[in-house]
């Protein structure tokens, strides 16, 4: 039964070995890792790059998203990292801690193709760790409200809520006239992102003392988590996980919930999966904040160069090419991934997209989560303890105290590293 892990490891190593060859036609070969759907789509963009750069050949390795993180770490351990790779923005800090990445500040300063000011602030900041820039945002990702406009209107609201008070009022009105078993909002309890988005709207940072300790008992996180758990306590949100909801799109079409917090990939899913007669009844809206439009999570993927690459200049040429506004637009058309550059959004296809407009707005208020290598683990802990809180096993106050204690333990090594670095200086 445990052989699965072993087998996937071996498969990974074989893939790496296969990727190590040099071009036999004299061209410089750069190895490019891309994940999931992006890996399929980007292959269409490579021929033009190779035409523009006759001396370079790009070898794309498509990595399934679900195992990408493990493969990157294994590749680093096995000294087999690619030259250039797509990297989830939440993994940047971890790769930097490993010393796996090449800083890009100097290249960014002198690049004619990439203007950092053209990028949305949040996704760009997500690539800055320890004062240096390690990646260029490839596409941006954030979470906001998907909602049933017809049901919201039926509850007496002509526009989506802009702040928490309005939002709560709308949800209560919806619940009051909903059939039993129907709810106002779906917040799958096996996702921590909705709570994280609400927490990032607050002024208090999630970690304190230079990212050394958890800061989950701060007034800001208390406000956000009380609001979040209150939705379950009031019966506005069902205490269900994603695996319990057989099909989010069917349930949304049936009106079992009106609000749903999700990301840009959901636009295409809704267009494909909702029945035609429902297509006029849904819309996207920026995430409401405590007092007016609020922040959300800055996510997405970046393009990075690995420190051990022997082809850094060629790799940078590829990044410059993929960052070109016209290439970004083609990438959007093929994948639906939202461009991270503002100028691309002026293209008619994006400017006229009624569902994407809210994302354009939200990306201006996207905040990256703390840039510590341990963040993913802290997020998972937020999910695990959060599930127990929704189930009523512990109180929201105990949730915050537990999360602080768990985070302090998770960050113990991080503190040790910081102390050591401080002592050396």
């Amino acid at each position: 039964m445990s052989s699965l892990a072993v087998r996937s490891l071996i498969a990974c190593l074989l893939v790496l070995l296969a990727g190590c060859g040099r071009g036999d036609d004299g061209r410089e070969v750069i190895r490019f890792w891309a994940m999931g759907r992006e890996g399929e789509v980007v292959a269409q963009l490579i021929p033009e790059f190779e035409r523009l750069n006759p001396g370079i050949r790009v070898q794309i390795q498509q990595i399934p998203f679900i195992s990408a993180h493990e493969k990157l770490l294994t590749a680093f351990a096995g000294d087999a990292t690619p030259d250039v790779s797509q990297l989830g923005s939440s993994w940047v800090a971890e790769m930097v801690a490993l010393g796996a990445l090449e800083p890009l500040d100097a290249r960014l300063r002198s690049s004619p193709a990439i203007d950092p000011r053209d990028y949305f602030d949040g996704p760009m900041r997500g690539n800055v760790v320890e004062g240096r820039t390690w990646g260029v945002p490839w596409y941006a990702d954030t979470r906001l409200l998907f909602y049933r406009s017809d049901l919201l209107r039926a509850a007496g609201f002509s526009a989506p809520p802009a702040n928490w008070a309005e939002w709560l009022r709308a949800m209560r009105a919806i619940k009051a006239r909903a059939a039993p078993g129907d709810y106002a909002i779906l917040l799958p309890i096996n996702e921590y992102e909705p709570l994280l988005a609400l927490a990032l709207q607050q002024r208090d940072p999630l970690l304190r003392d230079g990212d050394r300790y958890g800061n989950f008992r701060s007034p800001g996180f208390t406000r956000a988590s009380d609001f979040y758990f209150g939705l379950f306590r009031e019966g506005l949100a069902p205490p269900l996980s994603n695996t319990q909801i057989s099909n989010v799109h069917d349930e949304f079409a049936r009106g079992r919930f009106v609000f749903y917090i999700s990301g840009p990939w959901q636009i295409g899913e809704f267009q494909r999966r909702l029945p035609p007669e429902r297509q006029g009844d849904w819309m996207t809206a920026p995430l409401p904040g405590p007092n007016g439009p609020g922040a959300s999570i800055a996510g997405g993927s970046s393009l990075v160069i690995f420190a051990r690459s022997a082809h850094k200049d060629a790799a940078w040429r590829l990044i410059e090419y993929l960052s070109r506004p016209d290439v970004q637009l083609r990438f959007f058309e093929a994948s639906g991934d939202l461009p991270a550059r503002r100028s691309v959004w002026r293209a008619p296809i994006l400017a006229r997209d009624r569902y994407a407009a809210a994302f354009r707005d939200q990306l201006e208020r996207a905040v990256p989560p703390p840039a510590v290598p341990e963040w993913e683990r802290i997020g998972q802990q937020m999910r695990i303890v959060g599930e127990r809180t929704v189930a009523g096993q512990i109180t929201p106050a105990a949730f915050r105290a537990t999360l602080d204690a768990d985070t302090d333990r998770i960050l113990e090594r991080h503190r040790w590293m910081l102390a050591r670095a401080g002592a050396e200086r």
Partner: protein, 293 residues
């Protein structure tokens, strides 16, 4: 005499070297690793690694998720192993006895799950277990029971995993036990029948004692296998809902390969190793006391 023992060593040598190289050395290294804080930062620079003694084990004992994983694993073993062996024995006896010419067909059919790909059949089982459209709930509703949210409800997720694992694995033990049943001489049964033993008495006093060594083997193998529960929850539930299907091995996988805490993950592996050794020894003790081996 000396040359005979030399010949013995020469013959056993290659196997011993392989065993030493690929089993004892890695086990010792893993134990050494479990005494360090090897993690992501060690991967960056081995100089960041520190010897921490048994701190990982102390930390393990203090981690609620580990106890939860251990509890889940025991649940799986205690419920799954008897169910699996019972089913294997039942199926083997049916194949050995009653069904005559169809035995070959049934033997193949019942063994088939063992040779199928786990991931592929897990996908099919996910359909079967589906809350709203699954065949299993369809059957439950047909006999007037409420549908069960198999993989979504923390109370039913582990039973669903057990059901799946037992279905997937019982054929293997069935074949071993079938071979054992076929070695029992029929005159023993005849003698028992002449003495007036009924079916149940023949089963308890002839079949079970004759199968003793086989059952011990099957028991040891199955318990060892079931303790290493991993792929089923990995494919079906990813450890959820509310960590109700996180096994010890799944916990170790997360720690080792997701978070790269290899020191801590090695400690988990060793803890599981010790538990399994204790279980196997206890089994042998019981078997020996009853004269099964």
């Amino acid at each position: 005499m000396r040359s005979r023992s030399l010949a013995g060593w020469v013959f056993a040598g290659p196997a011993l070297i392989m065993l030493g190289l690929f089993f004892f050395v890695p086990v010792l290294l893993a134990f050494a690793l479990s005494l360090t804080n090897f993690d992501l930062y060690s991967l960056a620079d081995f100089g960041n690694t520190r010897f921490v003694g048994f701190a990982n084990y102390a930390e393990l004992v203090r981690t609620p998720l580990f106890w939860n994983a251990l509890g889940n694993t025991f649940y799986f073993v205690i419920a799954g192993v008897p169910l699996s062996i019972g089913l294997s024995l039942g199926a083997a006896m049916l194949l050995n006895g009653g069904i005559g010419r169809l035995a070959g067909t049934f033997r193949t059919a019942l063994f088939a799950p063992v040779v199928t790909t786990l991931v592929a059949v897990a996908v099919i089982w996910r359909y079967l277990l589906h809350t709203r459209y699954g065949m299993i709930n369809y059957g439950l509703e047909a006999i007037g029971l409420d549908p069960v949210d198999w993989l979504g409800d923390p109370r039913s997720a582990m039973p669903a995993i057990i059901l799946f694992a037992v279905w997937k694995n019982f054929g293997y033990n069935m074949v071993i036990l079938l071979a054992g049943l076929q070695t029992i001489p029929t005159d023993l049964y005849e003698a028992a029948r002449i003495d007036g033993a009924n079916g149940w008495q023949r089963f308890v006093h002839v079949t079970l004692p004759a199968l003793g060594p086989m059952l011990l083997l099957v028991g040891v193998l199955t318990i060892a296998g079931y303790f290493q529960l991993f792929a089923e929850p990995y494919v079906m539930t990813q450890g959820g809902p509310t960590e109700s299907t996180v096994s010890v091995l799944y916990f170790m996988y997360d720690q080792g390969f997701k978070w790269w805490n290899l020191g801590f993950a090695s400690a988990v592996a060793f803890a599981l190793f010790l538990i399994m050794i204790v279980f196997t020894l206890v089994q042998y003790r019981i078997a020996r006391a009853r004269g099964m081996v």
